[in-house]
């Protein structure tokens, strides 16, 4: 059986979660590998959430927020975008590949885009192989 990555999706309530809902109401088919956790704003994404996900066996983390300028809370998404580079630096030191964490902007009208991102990331992480938690991939 091929490797099925487990990806945690952390989605903001206003744009991205609604966008994912729209993918549902428009019956867009996409890979079942992303499991969504809802937060009110992507600005709520504490970097430790990402670490927690990897510690619990996730193979990837997808964070989605409103497009810059569209944040329901004015600019929470920008704060997340600013926190991410530092987090990625730290993840690199743990041996977690850059492609395992993605930050994307998905608006409430972009169901198609959400489905596309999920498919793309699933394939990307599938190629990387499972994350073994001790730095680097199992198959690397």
């Amino acid at each position: 059986m091929s490797f099925e990555p487990k990806i945690v999706g952390i989605l903001c309530n206003w744009c991205s979660y609604t966008g994912a809902d729209l993918a549902g109401t428009s019956r867009k088919k996409y890979a079942p590998n992303v499991r969504v956790v809802r937060v009110m704003c992507s600005g709520r994404v504490d970097p430790t959430f990402v670490l927690k996900a990897f510690a619990q066996g996730a193979d990837g983390v997808l964070i989605c927020g409103c497009h810059p300028g569209d944040c329901h809370y004015q600019d929470g998404n920008k704060k997340t975008a600013r926190r991410l580079p530092l987090l990625k630096k730290m993840l690199a030191q743990f041996g977690i590949e850059d492609e395992r964490v993605r930050l994307e902007w998905v608006s409430a009208s972009e169901g198609d885009r959400f489905a596309g991102i999920v498919n793309e990331m699933t394939e990307q992480v599938r190629k990387l192989g499972p994350f073994n938690g001790n730095g680097g991939s199992d198959n690397g």
């Binding site: 979660y17 088919k29 600005g43 709520r44 504490d46 996730a58």
Partner: protein
């Protein structure tokens, strides 16, 4: 008390159960810690479904509830209410979205069932940590702000004002009326637009409950449903509106002539002018950029002032009311309101972008809006349809879908263009019975009360319908009969051949598009926009006037292109929504907000800069941060930023989210 959790898996008919093995999910749920009962049921949102929860709470003593069904954006309020009815605090309820995020988007039954289990496990683990919260009720300010004075804003303002509540009607132009005031007739009844709109405009001016803020712009919005504050810039008219009688003498005296915006630049106005014959307020305004006196003042010269002083030699007095005030400055006012209705309308697609149609290069290519003015009795030609040289056209082509249904510009259909094109054809047949009229269409879209009948009537009136989108307009004649004409090139898809139609006049039925300032407005009001640029409604079918921001409604063409009846219906709907809130008198304020644990707060002040609502202040005495609960909206940005973990995001606590992450990976 140890959590005792009830889990309910909804079949949603076959919507969920068709893909997800709901019995298996329920069985799995039973194996999770602290789960006292897990059931699957056909429709959880139905009365029997809700009663199932209520009964279990009472008989089994459940103190936590999880429903796995649709999106929480759909039925969270339903189930929260059910819990509350059974005496359980609504925040002890959690939802797992196994429809929109699972059964509707996956095809593999097994994988979808596995995912549904993970989502249920996440909700169960999360709900374990959830705490009861109390929502606060705050009083609603009964005043309403309506932004935009077109037919949508006018309708909404009148509905609310007539119920006895105060309305501020904000209009950025010097007069209300919007696009509708520029139209000649309205389809399909051919009512004169002014005849049906001006009485409403006048009512706005006379209604004691409406404070008209014309020639004003929205600067800033703060607050929340029931208690908004708006900062509004009243632009200087250089006229004392109280003294001005609207007599128009100043315009006669003014020596500066400029293109008249109300006539799409086809006619002239003066630098001091009354915007239209039916302006409300009927007051003059000075165009500060073009007034000779004001331009002179900027260079330190005191010139002109003819509107003020008159021309003595000719015995013409200036403004006798003494209303002209060159010293007047812009003014910023702040108002308090409980609800906001956004009715900012649309703008017409600018056809110069499509070079091959020659708009702006050829004299007799007009936009739809220009034709409205040309055929309007109050327009620049007193309603005579004439070419730029003053002669009457003997042939006219009306081109549909300019800028809409066009992947290069706007993909969407603007919905009204087929109908207003038919109206133009009718007016042309009526005014110029000898003229040939062509309609160049892709599809005729005439859905609406009396619309198809109007289309049939036009076919009988002798209009030539050519099925095909115009490709190009040229003035290069290939045959003698084309000399001096505009030649419209089109592929007639019904007879399957290319045609060259020589005509005297071309009217382009241009798309309705989002106004250029839509992005700015969206930012001020924290509204979302759709892919096409129009404002996003809360739900496209079930909540088409509300937005994701409580207390802010969208009506008319700022939401999507629509005709006048739909606009008016939507405006009345929004007014009804606002009145419902006003009549209730209070609104519930979200309890899921942040709170600071003073023991742990290090006083670093990082959170203060993070907060987008200035809800956090610093207590200098205790050296800790404090959150103003009325201002906090619960975004959680401060929670994520607090280095000492002293801020708790209620209902989205770190514990709860961590448990949920564990759950989805279980």
């Amino acid at each position: 008390m140890e959590p005792k959790i009830g889990v309910y898996i909804c079949h949603c008919g076959s919507n969920i159960a068709g893909i997800v093995d709901v019995a298996k999910v329920a069985e799995y749920a039973r194996s999770l810690p602290n789960v006292a009962v897990a059931r699957d049921y056909k429709y959880m949102c139905s009365d029997p479904g809700q009663n199932l929860i209520k009964e279990d709470i009472k008989t089994l003593g459940l103190n936590r509830v999880v429903v796995a069904s649709c999106s929480p954006r759909m039925h969270e309020p339903t189930f929260r209410r059910a819990c509350q009815d059974a005496g359980l605090n609504q925040y002890l309820f959690e939802m797992a979205n196994i429809r929109e995020h699972c059964s509707w988007v996956h095809v593999d039954h097994e994988k979808a069932t596995e995912k549904a289990k993970a989502l249920v496990s996440a909700a169960v683990r999360r709900v374990y940590y959830q705490e009861p919260l109390e929502s606060k009720e705050v009083a609603v300010n009964p005043c309403t702000l309506v932004i935009g004075g077109g037919v949508a804003g006018i309708q909404a303002a009148l509905e609310i004002a007539n119920s006895g509540h105060k309305v501020y009607l904000l209009e950025k132009e010097a007069s209300i009326g919007g696009h509708m005031a520029m139209f000649d007739k309205t389809f399909p009844t051919l009512d004169c637009a002014a005849c049906i709109l001006t009485p409403k405009m006048t009512s706005v001016g006379q209604n004691g409950n409406i404070e008209l803020l014309a020639y004003s712009e929205l600067v800033e919005i703060s607050g929340y449903i029931g208690n908004f504050k708006a900062k509004i810039k009243k632009k200087s008219r250089y006229i004392d509106a109280v003294k001005c009688t609207g007599c128009g003498r100043c315009s006669e005296l003014c020596p500066t002539s400029l293109p008249n915006e109300f006539d799409c630049g086809l006619g002239k106005r003066k630098a001091i002018y009354i915007p239209s014959p039916y302006a409300v307020p009927n007051k003059a305004v000075i165009d500060g950029k073009n007034c000779r006196h004001l331009k002179g003042l900027a260079q330190g010269k005191d010139i002109c002032r003819l509107c003020q002083t008159g021309i003595e030699k000719k015995g013409l007095p200036g403004c006798e009311a003494g209303a002209i005030d060159f010293e007047q400055k812009d003014e910023t006012v702040e108002i308090e309101i409980g609800n906001i209705i956004v009715a900012t309308g649309f703008q017409q697609f600018e056809p110069t972008k499509i070079y091959q149609f020659g708009y702006g290069r050829y004299d007799n290519v007009f936009t739809g809006l220009e034709f409205e003015r040309l055929t309007n009795a109050s327009g620049p030609t007193d309603g005579k349809v004439v070419l730029k040289d003053g002669s009457s056209p003997r042939s006219v082509a009306i081109l549909h879908c300019i800028g809409s249904r066009d992947t290069n510009y706007h993909k969407y259909c603007s919905r009204v263009c087929c109908m207003y094109s038919l109206k133009f054809a009718h007016l042309l047949r009526e005014k110029l019975p000898e003229a040939k009229v062509y309609q160049l269409y892709i599809d005729m879209r005439c859905a609406g009360s009396g619309y198809e009948e109007f289309y049939e009537r036009l076919q009988e009136e002798g209009v030539n319908f050519v099925r095909g989108k115009a490709a190009e307009i040229t003035n290069i004649a290939e045959k003698p009969e084309e000399t001096g004409k505009l030649i419209v090139m089109v592929e007639d898809t019904l007879v399957r051949r290319k045609r060259r139609l020589p005509v005297d006049m071309v009217i382009m039925s241009c798309a309705l598009e989002p106004r250029a300032d839509t992005e700015q407005m969206a930012r001020i009001l924290s509204l979302s926009r759709k892919a096409d640029g129009f404002f996003l409604e809360k739900h496209p079918k079930l909540d088409p006037v509300a937005t994701t921001t409580d207390g802010i409604y969208i009506v008319g063409c700022c939401q999507s292109p629509k005709d006048i009846p739909d606009t008016v219906a939507q405006a009345s709907a929004a007014a009804a929504r606002v009145l419902a809130i006003i009549s209730k008198g209070t609104v519930e304020i979200e309890a899921a907000i942040a709170s600071i644990d003073e023991e742990h707060c290090a006083g670093c002040k990082i959170c203060i800069d993070m907060c987008p609502y200035k809800a956090i202040s610093f207590d200098e005495e205790k050296k800790v941060s404090r959150i103003n609960e009325a201002l906090c909206k619960g975004c959680g940005t401060c929670v994520a930023a607090c280095p000492s973990g002293a801020i708790k995001g209620r209902h989205f606590t770190t514990e709860e989210i961590m448990a949920e992450i564990e759950g989805v990976l279980a």
